[in-house]
Subunit: 303 residues, 2 copies
Amino acid sequence: MKCKRCKEQAVVGLPSHNAAFCEPCFLGFFRKQIETAIRRQKLFTHEDRILVALSGGKDSLSLMLELGELGYDVTGLHIDLGIGESSRKARAKVEAFCEKHGFALRVAEMEKEGLPMPLVKQHIKRPICSVCGKVKRHYFNRIAREGGFTVLATGHNLDDEVARLFANTLRWDVSYLSDQGPKLPAEEGFASKVKPLFRLSEYETAHYAFLKGIEIHSDPCPFSSGASFTSHKLLWSELEHRSPGQKFNFYESFLRQGRPAFAQLEKEQGAELHSCPDCGSPTSTDLCGVCRVRAMLAEKTGA
Amino acid sequence: MKCKRCKEQAVVGLPSHNAAFCEPCFLGFFRKQIETAIRRQKLFTHEDRILVALSGGKDSLSLMLELGELGYDVTGLHIDLGIGESSRKARAKVEAFCEKHGFALRVAEMEKEGLPMPLVKQHIKRPICSVCGKVKRHYFNRIAREGGFTVLATGHNLDDEVARLFANTLRWDVSYLSDQGPKLPAEEGFASKVKPLFRLSEYETAHYAFLKGIEIHSDPCPFSSGASFTSHKLLWSELEHRSPGQKFNFYESFLRQGRPAFAQLEKEQGAELHSCPDCGSPTSTDLCGVCRVRAMLAEKTGA
């Protein structure tokens, strides 16, 4: 296989782009996809202060490195979930990565916040993954707001986005379908949220991280049975194999034709938000979801 | 396995309904699904004159038999596509079925209309299935209108509908998503179109036809590589296996939450219709699609 651009020996084959690339041309392709995403979706500018959520996995670290190399004003944010050895290893990878590349990093420790995940798991009946996601989003948003960041960036890739869109579509969930996408504009109490890797597949970010020699945290979470939406991702990899490019087309035509229809409907039906009296985060209930979990834990553990 | 209703030995297992039935209770279940469809979606009443499209397959003949037994005013309509032995066999099955049950039947012969499919296939560049579908819908609608029928019923089952909905969703095709469903109300030049089997799976209609001893035409069309949307149907049978009931939930929540969003959008953007100068059918182009094909054939064959 020859590189589509320079005709050298290719190292990465990308059927969805009907292309194969050598290492330098693949890295160029990868960057171009991010630049196209930023430009076409107006994700942010060089004037923005960008907080990048870093789990320690291939996607978030790859995103951080690219945005840094592109000269954006980026600061890392790691949520230490307090899940024993697993969290210690993830945090160490993030700290070493930021140290190596000279990136500023903030760490929010759930232990100190009274929300270590093992304790939450012990006292809560809902699936832990949904509570953990809620807690992470809460601190992403709160630290962005309190730190004066204008943009919060996450490493969601095309496969993540397509699997989530598919799950929302199976239920035709209007409130999720109305605002899924690579950019959620800033609103009262919320920083703008962006996903600059939405044009790149998991396969592509994994290759990028490997070629750039990024040391990643790849152990699965001990509380989760594996990556989220695993079965939907398998199904979509079949669809993509059958018809290369279908994943991106599904997502892109949703943004163009699907989302506007749901956004219109949600505008007419959506819930109103106010500030949580405990932490100031926007919420549609009295106390916000995370402050409710924290209050429940404090009561149960007598803290 | 015991029958869910009467505890006799079951002959049909239906995981999506968390049930199994003996023969009489399955036939009762089958009828109830049709009655529920007619009532909840207001498909038609005993005052309507219903034209039922009969291909000779399990779905259309099962639908005709049930509607007849429920006392509705039904007339069969068969389109003889003129595809040699295959069409002769299909037509013979339909004629024998209507004869046996005393149903009125109309037959539209594409040979006489100047549109036999082998000739169409020979002179057209598009995939024959899409042209054949267009021709069938054209004559369904035209014969319904000219014969004073108020409703046109087709045998599309849940699997057909879900596969089609899925294909439309993959492309987020607003014009198709805005009106897919078990009922398209009558409009200027169009009879109301209904799909009373939309709550029943292919597996269920096949069992019904078998238990009722209906002689069906089951040979695949010689011009088609097989049933339509075959790969989507396979994918959905996997999803259904993983999570019984998911197929129906996908379709039903689309009707409740998805379609209204697209209908609103389409209302603002849709094309206007007028009457075809040749045949009077509603069309958004000058001559309607079928009259254009007929004119082209007449020119090429010097007819």
